[in-house]
Symmetry: none
Subunit: 208 residues, 4 copies
C-alpha cells in the first residue's frame, strides 16, 4: 500500500467501508469499547483483510480523527472578519448545526475522544485549535468594540455555539426521547437563531 500509488477501486471501496464501520463503532462505544470484529462485520470484510488496509485498530481510529479534524474546523475558519458580524456568527452556528444533522457520528466520535481525555488529539486542541479560536475571538472582540455586536466574552460565545449545536448530535437519543418522533433540527435551527440574535444584536437595532 505505497501511498504514492493511486488506490485501486477495490482499495478505495474497502478503505471507505472500514472507515464507515469504524465510525459507527468508535462513535458509540469509544475507542476501547469498539472491537475490530464489529468494524470488520460492518465493513463486510474478514478481520485479517481489514488489517491489510489498516495496520491496527489504532490506525483506523487515527485516520478517522485526522480526516475529521479538517472538516470539523472548517466552519470556524470560514467566519469572515470582513462580513456582517451578526450574519457571520449566525451563519457559523447554522453551519455547525447542519454538521450535527448531517454528520452526527463524526460529532459523537469527537465527543468520545474529548470525554476520554483527548488522548489522540490533545496536542491539536492546545495547538492549532487554540490558535484558531484565539484568532476568531479577536475578530469577535473587534466587532464588539466597534459596537457591531453587543459585548460578551468571545471565547464563551464560541463555546456556546459548539455546545448548542453539537448537543443535537451527541445527545440525539435524549433529544428524540423527549421530543418524540418530531425531527429536532428545524426547531433547533429557529431557536439557535433567536438565541444568538438576542445576545448579539445591539439593543437599539432590535425591532420592537
Amino acid at each position: 500500500m505505497n501511498e504514492a500509488q493511486p488506490l485501486t477501486r477495490i482499495q478505495a471501496r474497502n478503505r471507505a467501508a472500514i472507515l464507515s464501520g469504524g465510525l459507527d463503532a468508535f462513535s458509540s462505544a469509544g475507542f476501547r469499547g469498539a472491537t475490530l470484529d464489529q468494524i470488520a462485520e460492518a465493513a463486510g470484510l474478514s478481520k485479517p483483510n481489514l488489517l491489510y488496509y489498516f495496520p491496527s485498530k489504532d490506525a483506523i481510529y487515527t485516520a478517522l480523527l485526522e480526516g475529521l479534524l479538517e472538516t470539523w474546523l472548517d466552519p470556524l475558519h470560514a467566519l469572515d472578519a470582513d462580513g456582517d458580524p451578526v450574519a457571520e456568527i449566525l451563519a457559523y452556528a447554522h453551519r455547525k448545526l447542519a454538521m450535527s444533522r448531517d454528520f452526527p457520528r463524526e460529532s459523537r466520535l469527537f465527543a468520545n475522544e474529548i470525554l476520554a481525555g483527548a488522548p489522540q488529539i490533545g496536542a491539536v486542541l492546545s495547538g492549532p485549535l487554540r490558535s484558531l479560536v484565539d484568532e476568531k475571538a479577536t475578530v469577535l472582540r473587534g466587532w464588539m468594540e466597534a459596537g457591531q455586536i453587543r459585548a460578551s466574552d468571545p471565547h464563551h460565545l464560541i463555546f456556546s455555539i459548539w455546545a448548542l449545536t453539537q448537543h443535537y448530535a451527541d445527545f440525539d437519543v435524549q433529544v428524540r426521547a423527549v421530543l418524540g418522533e418530531t425531527d429536532p433540527f428545524a426547531g433547533a435551527d429557529r431557536f439557535i437563531d433567536q438565541l444568538f440574535r438576542s445576545v448579539l444584536e445591539p439593543v437599539q437595532d432590535r425591532p420592537l
Copy 2:
C-alpha cells in the same frame, strides 16, 4: 450484604471507593472500555474483593447511574412555577453549571451513556424525563403567553440550558486547552447569565 442491614464502616468505605473508582473509569472510557482492573486499582482493592461488594461490572455501572439520575434531575424539579420567571430560569441554569463544576465525572458518565445509545437509561429518558420536561415546558409556555418572558420553543430552551452547562464538564479538556489555565466557570457563569437574560427578558423591560 443484605441491603436491609446498615452498612458496616468497612463496607461503606469500600463501596464508596468502588463507586468513585467506577465513576473515574466509566466516565472516561465508557462502560465497555472501562475494566474491573482499573476500578479495583482505583479503589485500592483486589478484583475478587471488589466483586464481593458488587456482583458484576454491570452492577457497579447501574448503581452509579441510579444514584446519579435522582440528583441529575433535581435542579429541573426545583424550577418553580410560582417564582419569578427570569429568575427561576437563570437560577436553574446556574444550578446546572454548578453541577458541571462540582460533579464533572457524573456529567461525563451521563454523556457516555447517552453517546452509547442509552442502553441502561433509555426507558428513563422517554418516561420520567420526558414527563418532567413536558411539565416544565408547560410552565415556560405559560410564562411566555403571559408575556413574562419572550416567546421561544420551551423544549429547545431547556435543551440549550443542558447543552451549555454540561459542555463545561463534558468538554472540559477542550475548554481548558483553549482557555489555558484560567478557570472557565466564572466566565461561563457570566456568559450564560447574559445569554439567557437576552433571550428571555421582554424587550420593553430591557434597560437602554
Copy 3:
C-alpha cells in the same frame, strides 16, 4: 466455518481432536467438572484456537451429545418385530454390550448427563426415547401374549438390558478392580446370554 461448506482437512482433524478430548474430559468429570484447558491440551490446541472451532464449552458438550444420541438408540431401533423373539432380544443385548466395550467413554458421557439430571437431553428422554421404548415394549408384549417369550414387564425388561450392558462401561473401573486384569467382556457376554435366555424362553422349550 459455514456448515454448508465442506470441512477442510485441518478443520476436520481439529474438530475431531476437540470432540475426542471433550469426550475424555466430560465423560470422566461431567460438564461442570471438565475444563477447556484439559480439552485443549488433549486436542493439542491452544485454548483460543479451540474456541475458534467451537464457540463455547457448551457447544462442544452439545455437539457430543447430539452426535451420541443417534447411535445410542440405534440398537433398540434395530429390534425387529418380525424376527425371532428370543434371538432379537439377545441380539439387542449383545449389540448394547458391544457398544459398552467399543464406546465406553460415550456411555460414561451419557451416564454423567443423566446423573446430573439430564439438563441437556431431558426433553429427548421424555419425548423420542419414551416413544421408542413404548413402541418396542408393545412388540415385546405381543410376543409374550403369543407365548413366544415368557411374560414379564416389558419396560423393566428393557431397563435391565440397559443396566446390565452399560454397567460394564460406566463401572469399568470397579469391574476391573474386582476381576483383576481379566477382560470382563467375554464373561459378561456369556452371562448376559444365559440370564436373558432363562427369563425369556418358554419353560416347555427349555432343554432339560
Copy 4:
C-alpha cells in the same frame, strides 16, 4: 474439634446438614462440579463456618464416601453361606434395590466417583471390595457345585445385581421420563425377582 470430645448438639446438627448438602451437590455434579457455595447454602451455613466443621471440600467428600462405603457393602456382607441359596440371593437383590429407593443420592455419589475413575476409593475397590466379592463368589460357586442353584459366573452374577438395582437410582431421571409418573420400584422389584429366580432355580424345581 477434638475428635475425642463428644459433639455438641449444634455441632451434630451442622455436620449432618453439611453432609446432606454435600451429598446433594456431589451426587449430581460430581466432585469437581460441586461448589462449596451450593453446599453452604443447602446446609444453611456461611462458607467460612462450613469450613470450620470440615477443613476442606475434599474433607466433606471423603467423609461422605467413608460413611457410605460401610453401609454400601452391608447387604453383600449379609449374604449368608448357611442360608437358603435362592432366598439369600434374592434377599440380597431386594436389599440393594431398597437402598436405591431409599438412598438414591448415595448411589449417585458412588456412581460419580466410579465414573471419575475412583480417585478416592480406588484402593478400596481393589482391596476390601475385591476380597469381599471373591469371598461371596466362592459361596455362590459352592452352591452351584452342590446343585442348589444353576451354574453361572458368580462374579458376573454379583455385577448383574449391582447393575440392575443401582440403575433405578442412578438413571432415575431416565426411568421416570420413560415410565411417566408411575413409581418404578414396585415393578422393578417384581421383575428382578422373576429375572434372578429364572436364572438361579434349578430347572427341575421350576413349577410348570
